[in-house]
Each structure stands twice: as C-alpha cells, then as structure tokens.
C-alpha cells in the first residue's frame, strides 16, 4: 500500500483547512451580505433619510435634461424605473438624452442628488466585456497547460519537460 509522505500529509491537511475557512467565509458572506454591503441604488433612494447628505454612487440613464435649471431627470434600476432629479450645476461633461451614466454625488433629499461627477458609459460596454472575455478562457488554459500537466500518480501538477 502506498503511504503518503509526511509532506503530502501536511498538504492534505492544509487543503482541508483552507477549504473549511473558504466555505466558512462564503456562508458568512451569504448570511451577512444584505446587512453590511454597500446598498444598491434602489435601496439608497428608498431609504434616503439614512443616506441624506452623504456621497453616493449609482448608474442611471438620462431621461431629460433641463439646461435652464441645470438639472436632469434620470431612470435608475430596472422597470418600473425610479425617477430621480440630479443637479448638474458643477458638471462640465456634455450630456445627452438617453446617455447611460455613472453618477458620484451627494444625496440631498427624496430622489434628489447634487452631482459631483458624471461619467458617460458606452451602452455597448457590457456586451463588449462579455464578448471580449470569451477568448481569454482558451488563452488562459493554453498558457497554463503549455507549462503544466496533471500527474495522476502524485496528484500534483508537474512542469512539462522542455524540448521533450
């Protein structure tokens, strides 16, 4: 019978220990996430009293721009949208109706925000990220398995011999 070497035994114990810690962290996050994590924009505006006069960040889509009053109205979240009013008196960007934006600003009241910065997002960006991420998977696998192969006997990855 093949007995594990003391080094391998230590590694097995370490793998189990690290796995237990990781699983503990995953479940800790699962149970505590909603109580502790930075809330999404829907929650921020629904509980505006709690976050009043604090800096918030959120994505939105411009519905209308009132250049005379230097404000814009924007939709946030998924349908049915929450409509918010954003003061853009300090913003120098050129904004257009329908722009997908990312706002950093101070929550000033019920569904009102004074913008400090507005970044315009390309509407096709999410699609681009998804599409351009696909070739990365075979690329990573190629780079990894070009150098390493799995040895079933020792249950470890071993380096491929160069010029073999």
């Amino acid at each position: 019978m093949n007995l594990l070497s003391s080094m391998q035994k230590r590694k097995v114990v370490l793998v189990i220990l690290l796995l237990v810690i990781l699983i503990f962290l995953l479940f800790y996050s699962y149970l505590e996430f909603n109580k502790n994590d930075y809330p999404d924009s829907g929650y921020l505006f629904a509980h505006y009293q709690t976050f009043n006069n604090t800096e918030i960040t959120f994505p939105a889509r411009i519905r209308d721009i009132d250049t005379a009053n230097q404000t814009l109205t924007a939709n946030i979240g998924d349908p049915p949208y929450t409509l918010i009013e954003i003061n853009i008196s300090t913003i120098k960007n050129t904004l257009h109706r329908g722009d997908s934006i990312f706002v950093i600003g101070i929550l000033t009241g019920n569904r009102t925000v004074s913008a400090e910065r507005i970044f315009v997002r390309d509407p096709g960006l999410d699609y681009f990220i998804f599409i351009s991420s696909i070739p990365a998977i075979p690329y990573v696998l190629f780079l990894f398995f070009r150098t390493w192969c799995f040895d079933r006997k020792s249950f470890t990855f071993i380096q491929r011999k160069k010029n073999a």
């Binding site: 590694k11 370490l14 793998v15 690290l18 796995l19 810690i21 990781l22 962290l25 995953l26 479940f27 800790y28 996050s29 699962y30 505590e32 996430f33 909603n34 502790n36 994590d37 930075y38 960040t57 994505p59 990312f102 950093i104 910065r117 970044f119 315009v120 997002r121 390309d122 960006l125 999410d126 681009f128 990220i129 998804f130 351009s132 991420s133 070739p135 990365a136 998977i137 690329y139 990573v140 780079l143 990894f144 398995f145 070009r146 150098t147 390493w148 249950f155 470890t156 990855f157 071993i158």
Partner: protein, 155 residues
C-alpha cells in the same frame, strides 16, 4: 471590472516583468472573477452573489490560490505567482469605475468598499493593454533571440 482579455494581458505583462511563470500569473489574474459562477446560478433563477462575493476579495482569492498551490510541488513559488496575478486584478478593478461598487480589501473584517473614482472603464483600456502586451512581446522576443545568439557565439 474590465474584461478578461485586459486582466489576462496585464497579468501576462506582470509575469514577464517580474520573471515569474506567466501561465500561473495569468491564471491568478482572473481568479477573483470566480465570483462569476453566480451567472450559472442566475440561469437557474437564483441570485447567489452574496454567497460567492468572497471570491472577489483579496482574502477569498488568496485562499483559492493557496488551495490551488498545494497541488504543485513548489507550492510557495506557485502561490506567489498566483498572488501577483490576483494583485494585478484588484489593482485594475480598483482604478476603474463603472461596473463594480469597489473592492472590499479588508473583508471579512470590514465590508467597506474602496474605489479610485477617476477612470471610467471603456474600450480604450483594453486597447491600451493589448498594445502594451504586443510591444512587450516584441521586446522580449528580440531580447531572448539576442541572448540566444550571444550564447551560441560564446560556445
């Protein structure tokens, strides 16, 4: 978060610069995005982001790197290479806004998220990373071939 091409390209450059096993650094550069397993859960109508969130934190990614590294003979060297990749991932995510709420650098001790609110993620970041990698590839290719010629001459 930028796309995986940007992450892996930056990982490749980092691996080349610090002369570590590039395959491992590149693997490390996308390890934090194990959080994307949630997309599989979403197909089945479950949002388990809160469960998988620790994968996208330094502690969670380093734990995964630690577990992976133990399946190699030289575990410490492998762990270091994976950690470099993980670092490049979080640096990129930290400096770019638009897709994540920030990085929970101190999770599980703090839930606070940090982000450098200056650079908006867009196509130019990917283009810049690819251009840098191509230039790097040409540089290292010529450097290696020059080194090879010098070794041949001295024999």
């Amino acid at each position: 978060m930028p796309d995986w091409i940007t992450h892996t390209t930056i990982g490749w450059i980092a691996g080349k610069v610090i002369k570590m096993e590039v395959g491992l650094v590149v693997l490390g550069s996308i390890l934090p995005d194990l959080v994307k397993i949630n997309h599989i859960a979403l197909w089945f109508g479950m949002d388990l982001y809160s469960l998988f969130n620790p994968f996208h934190t330094p502690v969670g990614s380093l734990l995964v790197a630690g577990i992976l590294a133990l399946f190699f003979v030289d575990s410490i060297k492998v762990f270091l290479a994976l950690s470099i990749g993980i670092t490049t991932h979080f640096l990129l995510d930290f400096f770019l806004i638009g897709l994540t709420k920030g990085i929970q650098f101190l999770f599980p001790f703090s839930w606070e998220r940090w982000r450098f609110n200056e650079i908006m993620i867009d196509y130019r970041i990917t283009a810049l990373a690819i251009i840098a990698a191509v230039l790097g590839y040409i540089y290292w290719y010529y450097k290696d071939s020059k080194k090879g010629r010098t070794e041949y001459k001295t024999r």
